[in-house]
């Protein structure tokens, strides 16, 4: 990098306007600075080009002859020391033309070099222009390639992001479907197991019913005609409390009209006072009044199991009732009925 001071010195140096004291210092720096040498060379070329803009004046026609004579004199002076050359005699007459020939050669060489330099300069300018154009084209192509690469990279990135998003959505959907499938499978398995369990229960119940049916059929097959008549004469009844009876009391009776006896079971009868007692009544719609089945000996827990026989023969007893009567019983039931069958 050349600073402004050196640039100014180089400009003045190229124009021959740099003072002698600065010229020495500048030339010292110039010998060791390649960049500065190049700058001075270019500025000298620039200064020499300024000649082209000068108004051109042709030198006098005699000047060329004077210069050639002066060059000849200079040549003779350089050859005269320390011994003066012999005067050209007739045998050395050709030596008179040597300086002229050398001057002509020099002039020709100068013209040739200038022409050659001009041609090379034009070629260099043309080549530099071509190089600049190719460089510009290469830069444009490189720029286009960079733009295309950027576009392709952006598009690829967008597609990759899109693909990743789709893959993520697909994975989520698959996981959701798998989860729903597992839930449905589990639910179906549970329902299937429940159905199998219920089927097993039903099957067990059916088996039990079949077995009971078979046992009943076997028992029925073993029953005689007399036994069948006795079974047909048995009357089963459930006794439930009336509206004024004890709510927790319940009872059941089995009555065989063929045997004219029955069995009564009652639970949860509340205890009665010492002058009261429960009494069983058998009701036949064909009779005007109920028939007593006897006073019931209730225990302290309110339960009883008794076998009863009516006071008279009862062929059509269909209902049974329990009432509260005075101690020892009554001939007809009191209105205080606590249990009755349907």
């Amino acid at each position: 990098m050349i600073d402004e001071r050196r640039e100014a010195q180089a400009s003045l140096y190229a124009l021959g306007a740099l003072p002698p004291e600065e010229t020495l210092e500048f030339e010292t720096a110039l010998r060791s600075d390649l960049q500065l040498q190049l700058l001075v060379k270019e500025l000298r070329g620039t200064a020499s080009a300024l000649v082209a803009a000068l108004p051109q004046v042709a030198p006098p026609a005699s000047l060329k002859q004077r210069i050639l004579q002066a060059l000849d004199g200079s040549e003779q002076r350089s050859e005269s020391s320390p011994v003066a050359p012999p005067a050209p005699g007739p045998e050395n007459a050709w030596m008179f033309w040597v300086p002229w020939a050398l001057a002509a050669c020099f002039a020709f060489l100068c013209v040739l070099l200038i022409s050659l330099g001009h041609s090379l300069r034009q070629q260099a300018v043309q080549l530099q222009q071509d190089l600049n154009e190719r460089t510009q084209q290469a830069l444009q192509l490189q720029e286009q390639v960079n733009q295309l690469e950027n576009t392709a990279g952006q598009a690829a990135t967008n597609y990759q992001v899109r693909i990743s998003e789709i893959q993520r959505q697909v994975l989520q959907r698959v996981e959701e479907i798998n989860r729903q499938t597992a839930a449905l499978t589990n639910q179906l398995q549970q329902q299937n197991a429940e159905a199998r369990r219920q089927l097993g229960l039903v099957q067990t119940a059916a088996d039990n019913l079949k077995r009971e049916k078979r046992m009943l059929e076997e028992a029925l097959a073993g029953v005689s005609n007399g036994d069948k008549d006795r079974i047909n004469s048995v009357r089963l009844a459930v006794l439930r409390p009336t509206a004024t009876g004890p709510a927790g009391a319940i009872g059941a009776s089995v009555w065989s009209s063929q045997d004219q006896r029955g069995q009564l079971v009652i639970e949860n009868l509340p205890p009665l006072g010492p002058n009261q007692a429960y009494q069983l009544w058998l009701i036949d719609p064909k009779l005007a009044i109920p028939v007593s089945g006897g006073v019931l000996p209730a225990d302290n827990a309110g339960g009883l199991r008794v076998q009863f026989t009516p006071e008279i023969r009862m062929d059509g007893a269909e209902r049974f009732a329990v009432s509260i009567e005075p101690r020892g019983g009554s001939r007809t039931p009191s209105p205080r009925i606590v249990l009755t069958s349907q």
């Binding site: 190229a14 740099l18 500025l43 803009a53 030198p59 210069i67 200079s74 040549e75």
Partner: protein, 166 residues
């Protein structure tokens, strides 16, 4: 072209012819000192001619006609030369186009004309008048630093504009 340069600086045909003769003798004697790394042969010859003109002007400063700021703007104008001795010669101009080419001469003149007036003036007086920076500062009535800055900017601008044709 060397003669035109010397004539412009010295403003005297005999002085210019004598200086040109000295230049050619110097070229003849010092041809071995030419360094291609410092420029083309013509550039070297031009440098020698301008130094020769400067030497003669230092010996006879009264001959300079470019030491005044008012006389420098016509230098590169073929149409307004104030001196009959500097009137352009067609055959001499054709020599210029042989070296530089017609198109390049046009470009060089355009580049000069496009320079700011103060930069062009300082370069003209340094180039054609053979004036140093101190003499330029005296002639233009400006500090040396201003002169150096004008010449620097002007020469760098010319170098940039003429780079493709030189």
């Amino acid at each position: 072209m060397l003669y035109s340069t010397l004539l412009l600086a010295l403003n005297n045909r005999e002085e210019a012819a004598g200086a040109l003769q000295e230049v050619f003798i110097q070229i003849w004697d010092q041809a071995g000192a030419y360094d291609p790394a410092m420029g083309k042969p013509f550039t070297w010859a031009l440098t020698l001619a301008r130094r020769r003109a400067s030497d003669r002007l230092r010996r006879h400063p009264q001959r300079s006609h470019l030491g005044s700021a008012s006389t420098s703007t016509w230098i590169w104008s073929d149409q307004s030369s104030p001196s009959p001795s500097l009137s352009p010669n067609p055959s001499a101009s054709s020599d210029v186009t042989k070296v530089f080419g017609h198109e390049q001469v046009t470009l060089i003149r355009i580049a000069l004309e496009e320079l700011p007036a103060e930069q062009r003036q300082a370069i003209e007086m340094a180039f054609a008048g053979g004036l140093g920076q101190n003499e330029l500062a005296d002639a233009l009535g400006q500090p040396v630093s201003i002169i150096k800055a004008r010449i620097r900017r002007g020469m760098l601008t010319l170098r940039e504009r003429l780079k493709r044709i030189l």
